[in-house]
């Protein structure tokens, strides 16, 4: 962990809940880590493991996926699939000896601005501790 390390975190946020939750956090003037770059997706179930791998291998220090609480999905079951995809993603990376601490899946609803702030800050702290993504400095991807 070097001096002056500013992590870059990619956040895939569900349009119907977490994105609105992040918006609410902003409106409530809660502090959100500046290191979080948000990508709005129509459902957390849309987050293909390929997108996460792309982010990680191109140098993101962490990837946050946030979606609706179980049972609250706008498309009824997208977040359940997201959870399975996330489990698959984690397991695959784990068996290849890659860090899965840089990944996070969280449920945040549209009314949970406070919770969004907490989740984002906690994850940013975790990434701060882990330091820069070693894959960033590896030339052959």
């Amino acid at each position: 962990m070097g001096e002056g390390f500013t992590p870059r975190i990619v956040g895939f946020l569900c349009n119907w809940c977490s994105y609105a939750g992040a918006d609410l956090a902003g409106a409530a003037k809660l502090e959100i880590p500046a290191s979080l770059s948000v990508i709005r997706v129509m459902c957390s179930g849309r987050v293909d493991p390929v997108l996460v791998a792309t982010a990680l291998l191109q140098g993101a220090d962490g990837v946050l996926i946030a979606g609706c609480h179980p049972g609250d999905c706008h498309y009824r079951e997208g977040n359940y699939y997201a959870r399975r995809r996330f489990a698959l993603l984690k397991k695959t990376l784990e068996t290849l000896g890659l860090d899965t601490e840089r990944l996070m899946l969280a449920w945040v609803s549209a009314s949970e601005g406070q919770r969004f702030g907490e989740v984002a800050n906690q994850f940013a702290g975790q990434i701060m501790e882990l330091g820069p993504n070693p894959m960033k400095t590896k030339i052959s991807l």
Binding site: D48, R83, W107
Partner: protein, 366 residues
């Protein structure tokens, strides 16, 4: 217990007789099996409709130039086979076909699936070197005794699913000491009984499972562990494993469960414009330029690991000898265990990525 038909002939002859019977009686329109190609010792899957053409058929030839699942999926993709076809496939090919059908890539209707307890196949290299003939006697000897034949594909030596799961007809080869003289045809389904009705043979009850089969399974499980240790993928460093990869994508083309018509890597989804590289160079002092081996291999594993049936074709065709089959076995095994899923076991078992339970994987969510 299933019905077992005993024929007093060698295994290959017995299978040919069964196929000839099916064709001559008009029970099937065609037979899908290995045939000799030319004189150089090559074999390829073909559809045979003329009983006389069965002369060139080699249904039990221990080589896998292509996965039958891929071919059968193409033959039944748009609609099921119009008329009955008898297909002779290996247990892993059958599992791959099941996985493809779960993804709507084919149909089992009108297919009579004939498989066998499998002794494995030789690496393609052995096939093209032309010395596979010398190895055959040893191979059949090993099958009779229920041992791992020498020099077979490492993935086969490590395969524990060599008893077919969904076959209509199973030939009991492993542990049959009189393989040259007699053959046991196990009829697993009503369909199999209807199709073989009228075939001369001694009928009894039995099961392809036996002590020899169990002991071979144990031997292969032990070999699997040895091989995973040997190839060092147990505590793998992804960079080290894939650093030799040249992204020729052979593994992608031969994989039976890698089925997309337009692959992500053909879609341009992984490409960047010129400006991206310039920016990256400015930021990092270097810019990774495509093809990116680790990314390619990772994405491949995301896509196929859940359905990997461990056939080993990927490792077989790798020009830089990456033990891809071992990576697939390890990652595939871990992912499948996480979902308590065995690919190709049951057509009604839903794919883990298209099914879910409301209460599960609580620990993966923060």
């Amino acid at each position: 217990m299933a019905k077992v038909l005993k024929l007093n002939k060698g295994a290959e002859q017995c299978l040919l007789e069964l196929l000839r019977f099916l064709l001559e009686r008009g029970k099937v329109k065609g037979v899908f099996t290995f045939s000799k190609v030319g004189e150089s010792g090559g074999v390829a899957y073909s559809l045979i409709t003329d009983p006389a053409a069965l002369e060139a058929a080699l249904p039990l030839f221990p080589l896998m130039p292509v996965d039958a699942a891929k071919v059968l999926s193409r033959l039944t993709l748009v609609e099921p086979a119009a008329e009955p076809i008898a297909a002779v496939v290996r247990p892993c090919e059958l599992r791959a076909l099941t996985e493809l059908i779960k993804r709507s890539q084919g149909s089992l209707d009108n297919l009579l699936l004939i498989s066998s307890t499998c002794g494995g196949v030789y690496p393609l290299e052995t096939g093209v070197n032309g010395n596979i003939g010398e190895k055959l006697p040893g191979y059949w000897e090993a099958v009779k005794k229920g041992e791992i034949a020498a020099d077979i594909r490492p993935a086969c030596a490590a395969c524990e699913h060599f008893v077919p799961y969904n076959a209509d007809i199973t030939l009991a080869l492993i542990g049959n000491k009189d393989l040259d003289k007699q053959c046991l045809i196990q009829l697993n389904t009503d369909k199999a009984e209807q199709f073989t009705d009228g075939l001369a043979g001694e009928l009894s009850q039995g099961e392809a499972k036996s002590e020899v089969v169990d002991s071979l399974r144990a031997k292969r499980q032990a070999r699997k562990q040895e091989l995973l240790d040997e190839f060092g993928v147990e505590d793998s460093d992804i960079q080290k494993v894939f650093e030799k990869c040249i992204v020729c994508r052979n593994c992608n083309k031969v994989c039976p469960v890698c089925y997309c018509k337009v692959c992500f890597f053909d879609s341009g989804g992984d490409e960047h414009d010129q400006r991206y590289y310039e920016t990256e160079m400015g930021k990092k002092g270097y810019a990774p330029v495509l093809p990116a081996p680790t990314f390619y291999q990772l994405v491949r594993l995301f896509h196929v690991s859940i359905s990997c049936i461990g056939c080993g074709l990927c490792g077989d065709v790798c020009p830089v000898n990456i033990p891809l089959w071992a990576v697939a076995l390890k990652t595939g095994g871990a992912v499948q265990n996480a979902f308590d899923y065995l690919p190709g076991r049951d057509l009604d078992e839903g794919l883990p990525v298209t099914t879910f339970k409301p209460e599960e994987f609580a620990a993966t969510v923060d």
